[in-house]
């Protein structure tokens, strides 16, 4: 078998963006909050892009994976806090649990919903986050609607100093790492058989099937990968940054919408797209919330409609078409 060589050039711009964000946040006082938000949006976009961008399926219940990831971390910390000498290990267990729970949920949802196509898929997923939220609240699982608060446990395990360092600094670094990892996985998928299969499936699912591609397998693979990264983003960005979890907050559909906007803005199915989209969305949201608080959605809704009608390929998609010179084209993927 011929070994496939994945050339890492296209990762360069992504890494450069993350590196500059880090530098700006570290060196300019007062910027870390904005940088943390941008890192969150980029990572969420990267995670979502693996499924939405590569398959063209819309999952409206995407935030549920971030929600269960948050619960994974929260449960690990609340239940293992009384064991002595765990230390930082508890964070690792938390991430593992987040990964496990988002995988399980994505397998369960994917097994049902991925049998459906197009509009039917979107309809099936529109209730996933609400459904899961009402299950937790209704059956009073994991403390029901009262949620889990674990600031005290975090302080107890790590000590007050390092717990606050974790919340304000290391959690964001973890989000950065997750985003970068998602970019690597995206590039690997794009350059391997998986990517070609997904492209074929996005263009014409029936034709792909006829050509002998096991579309279900690749769809589920992309779905689970995307959900895992979402779970990790939830665990790092929500559970560790703000050590509490309430069902209505972590299953809020607006995060799904934000992720969709980011992916579309940057260019669905491109490697660089989610980062570009995340930066544009994050920066404009940040400044809109300063200058015109409460009007972000009113401004964004017509913008999404305009993007869909006028620039369906997004910023990176357009660049890809325009740039013909082979050397810069290597980096715009």
């Amino acid at each position: 078998m011929r070994k496939e060589i994945v050339r890492p050039y296209p990762l360069l711009p992504v890494c450069a963006v993350y590196f500059f964000l880090f530098l700006i946040g570290k060196n300019i006082p007062g910027m870390w909050q904005l940088v943390a938000m941008l890192l969150f949006y980029c990572a969420m976009g990267q995670a979502f892009n693996i499924f939405l961008g590569m398959t063209g399926y819309v999952d409206f219940g995407y935030v549920a994976f971030m929600g269960v990831g948050t619960y994974g971390m929260a449960l690990a910390i609340t239940h293992l806090a009384h064991i002595e000498g765990f230390g930082m290990g508890i964070i690792v267990v938390g991430f593992a649990l987040a990964l496990l729970m988002s995988t399980l949920l994505s397998v369960a949802v994917g097994a049902v919903a991925l049998r459906l196509r197009g509009a039917y898929f979107a309809i099936a997923t529109i209730g996933v986050n609400e459904g899961f939220r009402f299950l937790i609240e209704g059956a009073k699982i994991w403390n029901g609607s009262e949620g889990l608060i674990f600031t005290a446990q975090l302080n107890q395990i790590l000590g007050r100093e390092s717990a606050s360092a974790l919340m304000t600094y290391w959690a964001d670094i973890m989000v950065l790492a997750i985003g970068a990892l998602a970019a690597v996985v995206t590039l690997y998928y794009m350059r391997s058989k998986i990517g070609y299969a997904l492209t074929a499936l996005r263009e014409d699912e029936d034709a792909a099937k006829v050509m002998g591609i096991n579309v279900t397998k690749y769809k589920i693979l992309a779905f689970i990968t995307s959900a895992c990264f979402a779970g990790l983003v939830g665990a790092a960005s929500w559970a560790l940054k703000t050590p509490y979890v309430f069902p209505p907050e972590v299953f809020e559909i607006h995060y799904t919408i934000e992720a969709i906007i980011i992916v579309l803005l940057g260019g669905a199915g491109t490697l660089l797209g989610p980062v570009v989209g995340g930066l544009i969305y994050g920066i404009s949201k940040y400044y809109l919330s300063i200058f015109m608080p409460g009007f972000q959605l009113l401004i964004f809704a017509p913008i999404i409609i305009l993007i869909i009608i006028l620039f369906p390929e997004g910023v990176v998609g357009m660049l890809k078409k325009r740039v013909k010179d082979p050397i810069p084209a290597k980096f715009i993927v």
Binding site: L52, G56, V58, F60, V112, A113, R115, L116, G118, A119, Y120, A122, I123, A124, I126, G127, V128, E130, G131, F134, L135, E137, G138, A139, K140, G144, S145, I253, I257, I260, L264, A268, F295, L297, L298, F300, A301, P302, I304, I305, I308, I309, P312
Partner: protein, 295 residues
């Protein structure tokens, strides 16, 4: 005692179900004709509720007369969004229309929030109660139920007895064939979209009879989910299927609430909403064309 309570609640469910059914007919009509899923469906119901609130609360106009006003508002919104957005996306991949209708929903919510604010409001239309034997029903709810049935019948007549209705039906059967026979397909699309939105906004008026203090710019989300369950029950592309799906959903919702309330230590209201989501998945899995469809 329990049986009495159950039959009473089921009766209430049937009355509410008729309104649910009508609130879903617009969604099914639009999907049936244009193959567009209106993900912003609930926002149009919310617009209807605010039309009622404004007419009744500020001007003192009887909510019955709010129905035609809301219908007119809906027709206007429908044509507006069809010609500005949907028309340009009808040939685009599904992703485009899903996101566009979703954004339209958000736009409406934010506009209403801008005008009316985001606090919960409500009004009380007191027109007496009626004893139906199994349960006591406020007259306002009975009017809403009757109104829904009348609107469903009117839609049926429009489809089957008018020229425009036949044109729309021919487009559903075969849009190319209809075009060849001289049907203006673009106009049939526009008309169906506007009509679908019109019915949806009008249904918002009738739904306010059931939520005395629940009117809020973000109230629509719940109804979007419910409407999808109902539409899928009825086959997604058939407005009449949707009406009967609504009746079934009303029964299931109220029946399951009564039964969940018997289980100690749970929140029955949250569980009924979880159940509706499970129903959605199960129906889509076993019979995506709907339980009530012949295919």
């Amino acid at each position: 005692m329990l049986l009495e309570q159950l039959t009473g609640n089921l009766f209430q469910g049937l009355v509410l179900g008729a309104v649910y059914g009508m609130a879903t007919m617009g969604l099914s009509l639009i999907f049936g004709v244009l193959k567009v899923v209106n993900v912003g469906h609930g926002a149009f119901i919310m617009v209807g509720a605010f039309v009622t609130l404004w007419l009744f609360g500020a001007l003192g106009i009887n909510p019955i007369f709010a129905v035609p006003v809301a219908f007119g508002v809906g027709i206007g919104l429908g044509f507006l969004f069809y010609y500005t957005t949907i028309q340009k996306l009808i040939k685009a991949p599904e992703l485009a229309t899903l996101l566009a209708t979703f954004s339209i929903g958000i736009l409406l919510e934010e506009l209403v929030k801008l005008i009316f604010g985001s606090e919960f409001r409500g009004f009380n239309w007191v027109v007496g109660k009626i004893d139906m034997g199994v349960t006591v029903l406020p007259m306002s709810k009975l009017y809403a139920c009757i109104g829904s049935v009348i609107i469903a019948i009117l839609l049926y007549l429009w489809f089957n007895k008018t020229r425009a209705g036949s044109a729309v039906r021919s487009v559903v059967e075969d849009s190319e064939g209809a075009r060849v026979c001289g049907v203006n397909v673009g106009r049939a699309y526009a008309l169906s979209f506007a009509l679908g939105i019109g019915i949806t906004v009008a249904s918002g008026v009738l739904l306010t009879m059931f939520i005395p203090v629940g009117i809020n710019p973000y109230m629509g989300g719940v109804y979007t989910l419910k409407a999808f369950v109902i539409a899928v029950l009825g086959g997604l592309s058939s407005p009449y299927g949707a009406f009967f799906g609504g009746l079934a959903f009303g029964l299931i919702e109220n029946g399951s609430y009564t039964l969940f309330a018997l289980i100690p230590g749970v929140e029955p209201f949250a569980l009924t909403r979880f159940l509706s989501f499970v129903m959605l998945l199960v129906i889509l899995l076993i019979k995506p064309t709907g339980l009530l469809s012949k295919k």
